[in-house]
Amino acid sequence: MSSISRGNVKMAIAALKSTKWRSMFTMLGVIIGVVSVVTVVGVGEGIKYQVGGQINQLGRDLITIRPGKLVNRGSGGGITGVNLFTTTTSGGTLTQEDLARVRQTKGVRLAVPLGLVNATAQDGAGHATSLPIVASTSDLPGVLNQSVTTGGFFSADTTGQPYVAVLGSNAAEELFHQGAPLGRSFQLMGQTFFVQGVFNQFDTNPLSLTTDFNDAIFIPYSTAQLLTNNNTQLYEVLAKPTDPNQTTAEVHAISKTLTQAYQGQQQFTVLSQNESLMVTNNILDLLTKLIAGVAAISLLVGGIGIMDVMLVSVSERMHEIGIRKALGATNRQILEQFLIESTVLSLAGGLIGIVISLFIDYLLHVFTPLTPIISWQAVVIATIVSFLVGIIFGSVPAIKAARKDPIDALRNE
């Protein structure tokens, strides 16, 4: 049987080659379908990977506390739902007292505030920049698992010299056009700040919910309070537990402390990194599935295109079918011949589509911050799907060809 099939594949390719343009345009439907699905899934996977990388860098035991209710928790403490439309800033604020409460919760090793200062930093030449100003405390590098490459982070007590700053790597470039502008100064809210250090590059992802730390200017929290008359907006508290293995328990403990403090009047979102990874992945999966679903419709349309062309091909080749039947081809062998033809068509389309999407992903990688990942699973699934498209949509024309009466088919010139 295998020798027939091999001959049939050769014959199918010859038949498809004889109508080169038609075959090419027929394949186009499948190619477009495969390219769009594979690319969308690849981009989604890439973003997920980037988010995961960022979280790994920050440490799996990092706990974030944000105002607002981003997730619903069941009685057991597990996440039961995600409120997609809650942004990070809406739904109340965090206060200094909240920070103190988190610090006092049993098992919390470190807790740092992240405050946003609405101000514009001016570079040496007096040009305004749009860099975000983040106010925090000296424990920040420890909490973020990030070191300062050049210089050092500001100390716990900055009362002696309050106007110091540490820069994200991109911010250093933007302000001073150099990587290590130690000791240089810039203007912020009428004060001259001295650069004390520059952070290592943070891993980032394009869909990050938080500020990109690479762009940020970090100033001491006390300085921010001083400049804003104790009105610094505290948008996030980051905490680390004493025992990394107790992160989940710690999330519950902090959540409980805060809820008790406000008697349930205020909503907070306390998330471990695993959970925020889950939340991000949930959102990403939803988006990816949605877009891939739309893209899959083009694959369906491609399949219908194959069916159309094969139907035309069967009527055109009625005489050939007649000859083959007269020579002793059984219905099954005729069916096989046309199924192989449609499958070769759609499989070739699928493979070309995979090659094109690899190329597109390479271009995306080079020219955009996206780093799409095409997994071997995606390739295998795309191949199998295009194979199935050929079988499914090729079956109607193939059955039509197989059932044709030999005499009727022979008379058909």
Binding site: M1, S3, I4, R6, G7, M11, A14, A15, S18, H319, E320, I323, R324, K325, A326, L327, G328, A329, T330, N331, R332, Q333, P406, I407, L410
Partner: protein, 298 residues
């Protein structure tokens, strides 16, 4: 010798109601193994329908057909296909080779449906092409061959399965007389060397000399069935030959087109040098006329 084909009161009707036409009218025919039968008759007398039924391509409307002792009515389409594949070889008037396959692949095609390995079937096909004298044309496509050669390829294809029965429906219908003779000689030789039964339809009484039995048909019935000697034109056919020539305009046109096909090749060889001569002479003549013109001026 066993009976290979047995038809009992076989009728074939086409269409429904008022449009019904009777292609075969209660035909009884029995053909034994190793016979070489010519079937003659005017167009539309049911010859092709009879061939299709005998070749298991079509089913009779009424009557019983036994092929090789088995009732054809009980055979499933797949079983019929397998019998066609293993025991029947078809030769058509319009050759019916697949244009996209090479000559060799065309001949090997029936073997492919048998499930034979590629190398073996190509070898067998090659042997068969050698037998019909076309081994040097193996990798040609049908469109690159002449009509006679294409029909020889078709014969090779019909023979490749070593069939018990060869059905040739007007094998020489599209061929000039030289190619017709070539094709019929080939069939005659096959009949001599093999043990196959050959059934062929023809309009040409001359060709009945290859057969040992001639069946005459008219309006769906068998009018006469006579046994003849090999190499002799059947008596009835002979009568037909020398009676009032019933040639129509179409027959004349066919003859002309056959001539046209036959002539150019030979004519082209002969005419080419003479054409060059003509050119030369015409040049001379133009010179002469120019000279004359000059002379008239002077």
């Amino acid at each position: 010798m066993g009976v290979i084909i047995e038809l009992q009161d076989v009728s074939k009707l086409y269409g429904f109601g008022d449009a019904t036409t009777l292609a075969l009218d209660e035909v009884n025919l029995s053909i034994e193994q190793n016979e070489f039968v010519a079937i003659m008759g005017p167009s539309g007398c049911g010859k092709s329908t009879l061939m299709n039924i005998i070749g298991l391509l079509d089913r009779p409307t009424h009557g019983e057909y036994k092929f090789n002792g088995r009732s054809a009515a009980k055979l499933s389409p797949d079983k019929r296909a397998k019998i066609r594949r293993d025991t029947i070889g078809f030769i058509f008037q319009s050759y019916n080779l697949l244009p996209r396959l090479t000559v060799l692949e065309n001949v090997a095609l029936p073997l492919a449906y048998k499930g034979m390995s590629l190398t073996r079937r190509l070898k067998l096909a090659s042997n068969m092409l050698e037998r019909v004298g076309l081994q040097d044309r193996e990798y040609y496509y049908p469109r690159q061959l002449s009509g006679g050669q294409v029909q020889c390829v078709a014969i090779a294809r019909a023979l490749v399965n070593d069939p018990k029965l060869i059905i040739a429906d007007e094998p020489t219908g599209n061929l000039d007389s030289a190619s017709s003779r070539l094709v019929m000689e080939l069939l005659g030789e096959i009949h001599k060397t093999g043990s196959g039964t050959i059934l062929f339809v023809t309009h040409n009484p001359e060709l009945t000399r290859y057969a040992n039995r001639v069946v005459y048909m008219r309006d769906g019935s068998i009018m006469q069935d006579e046994t003849t000697m090999f190499g002799e034109v059947a008596a009835t056919a002979l009568k037909q030959m020398y009676s009032i020539p019933e040639t129509t305009v179409e027959d004349d046109l066919e003859g002309v087109s056959a001539l046209m096909k036959a002539v150019p090749q030979k004519a082209a060889e002969r005419t080419q040098p003479s054409a060059q001569k003509k050119k030369k002479t015409s040049k001379k003549s133009t010179r002469k006329t120019k000279a004359r013109k000059r002379s008239t001026r002077v």
